[in-house]
Subunit: 325 residues, 2 copies
């Protein structure tokens, strides 16, 4: 177990300086601060005095890491997190990671520096090692990283419900548009369920992986247009988000393809836009309010050294609207 | 000018305790902290030592107050603010005020306590007095409060462009759906422009004010359904947000009213949903990226004691799509 002296030696500073960095007292140059943090990280140093007096030193600020809050799902997620954090006397520091691991790391460093009490992480970054060595309160959404408690909705059930509905409604050639399956997201279970169901029913199918960072509109449009051109006999689409489903419907309308008569479309999330789309969008609802509430609960339990559950899976719900009639 | 001793006397604590609260050092109970803040506020105390050493004591955290980040416009706004804040080495504390003045006040108190360096305020709260006595960095969006620097897009021009387009396209009876005009929002200029233009052109018109806190879907639907029932000869709608315009289009479709053939619809903001709606939505674009960048610039200028401009008005742009053809 490394001590404050080991850190000081490694960083080439005095133990007093390390202590100052830890307690955020007195003037410390950014350069020194970084050096100390870097040594702490290298040695995986856990400052005991901070752990012991955590309750008194709480900042009552938590970090929330999302890919981009301008995405409707994460906007709703952030809104719920802030709501329940506030109810528990905590404030929320917002980080749009834009899949930038360096940016995420700064928030982890803030946690080490005791400037945030914990982190709720809902990012799609590839690098997750940096989270694993942090013995501080973290909750992830849709990511399973080591022993860190996580929340997900029942993605397999969501994928199953969506695919079975399309088949029940008569679809015989279904495209599934999903995220990058290389990323170890729990949302990948939706795609697994899709494949299981189409294979059981022996239904022709196509799987299209979108790029990691495709929150950009033109990319979606191009990809969907290509899909519709390549497969004129397509009669069903299961998209992994309502946003992608909205683009599918829009492209269909522009190409004169009737939804739901020619192609039935189902989305995922049930974000606020789903009912505005014409035809209104059938989707799988994630219980975003329960997710927000539970994330705060899991974080509080860790901060207060209470017991908590590691695996937290919430139910999804099929919301049938006009796009699959 | 009140001193630390006046504050201590008023709060019934020692000057050392006031100093501890100010510097966020040592253990202070929540009760004492609140008492000290309350006395500081009552006496309008400005701690000199903090003002003098602001640069060293910066938290590099700014507060962002929005009505609700789950609204697409404010989601995009928050995303831009966070982007430019990060570029300037600052992190963003997110507050959904939900029009709760008590909640907003806590952020102002954090600023007094030096826990945030400044606030970007884009709320619709009725009470604005509490902002006026704070001699700390604040930037408002679409609110003009005393001498606090503010940003708005050219709301009058936006309202003018929208109304003139509807008239040019042949509308002879136009409804304008706007926010609560009792609130002293700069967005009210859109409604002023609407009235000026319809009066110049002698066009029949209706103005509908939505309630302060109507971000709720059912309310919009009911209100629009009533409007369409009361005025079967309506042929144009200028809504003060894309969300409201989306609801107008949705209700029209459900009632068998053709957009744009029977009723032309124009929204405001150009949030991400505008192009997904069918027919795609004509709107007035607010330059959200420039707004976010400028807000951070104005805040940084204040934090760094540089000169800044109080009135900042940015240009809007008419984006013509299918809903007004």
């Amino acid at each position: 177990m490394p001590t404050i002296h080991d850190v000081a030696k490694h960083a080439g500073v005095t133990p007093t300086t390390v202590s100052r960095v830890l307690n955020n007292r007195g003037y410390i140059s950014d350069k020194t601060r970084k050096k100390v943090y870097s040594s702490m990280e290298h040695l995986n140093y856990q400052p005991n005095e901070i752990a012991r007096s955590l309750k008194n030193k709480q900042s009552n600020i938590i970090g929330l890491i999302v890919p981009d809050v301008s995405h409707p799902f994460f906007a709703a997620f952030a809104s719920q997190i802030e709501y329940y954090a506030y109810e528990n006397g905590m404030k929320v520091l917002l980080c749009n990671s834009h899949l930038d691991p360096v940016k995420e790391k700064e928030y982890i460093d803030m946690m080490r520096g005791n400037r945030v009490d914990g982190i709720i992480m809902s990012s799609h970054t590839l690098e997750t090692e940096q989270y694993q060595n942090v013995q501080s309160p973290i909750v992830t959404f849709d990511r399973q990283i080591g022993d860190i408690p996580y929340i997900s909705s029942d993605n397999y059930m969501g994928g199953k419900l969506a695919t079975e509905l399309l088949i029940k409604q008569g679809c015989r050639k279904i495209a599934h548009i999903c995220g990058n399956l290389q990323l170890n997201l729990l949302a990948n279970e939706r795609s697994k369920a899709f494949l299981d169901v189409v294979n059981v029913h022996n239904v022709e199918h196509i799987v299209i992986e979108t790029d990691t960072n495709v929150f950009h509109n033109q990319e979606y449009q191009k990809m969907i247009r290509q899909l519709l051109a390549d497969h004129p006999d397509l009669d069903g689409v299961f998209a992994t988000s309502d946003i992608i489903a909205a683009y599918v419907i829009k492209e269909c309308i522009e190409l004169g393809i009737k939804v739901p008569e020619q192609i039935k479309v189902i989305g995922y999330d049930d974000v606020s836009i789903a009912p505005w789309i014409t035809p209104s969008l059938t989707t799988i609802r994630q219980p975003i309010e329960d997710i927000g509430k539970l994330a705060i609960k899991l974080l509080s339990q860790q901060i207060n050294k209470e017991e908590y559950v590691i695996k937290n899976q919430l139910d999804v719900e099929l919301i049938e609207r006009a796009s699959t009639l």
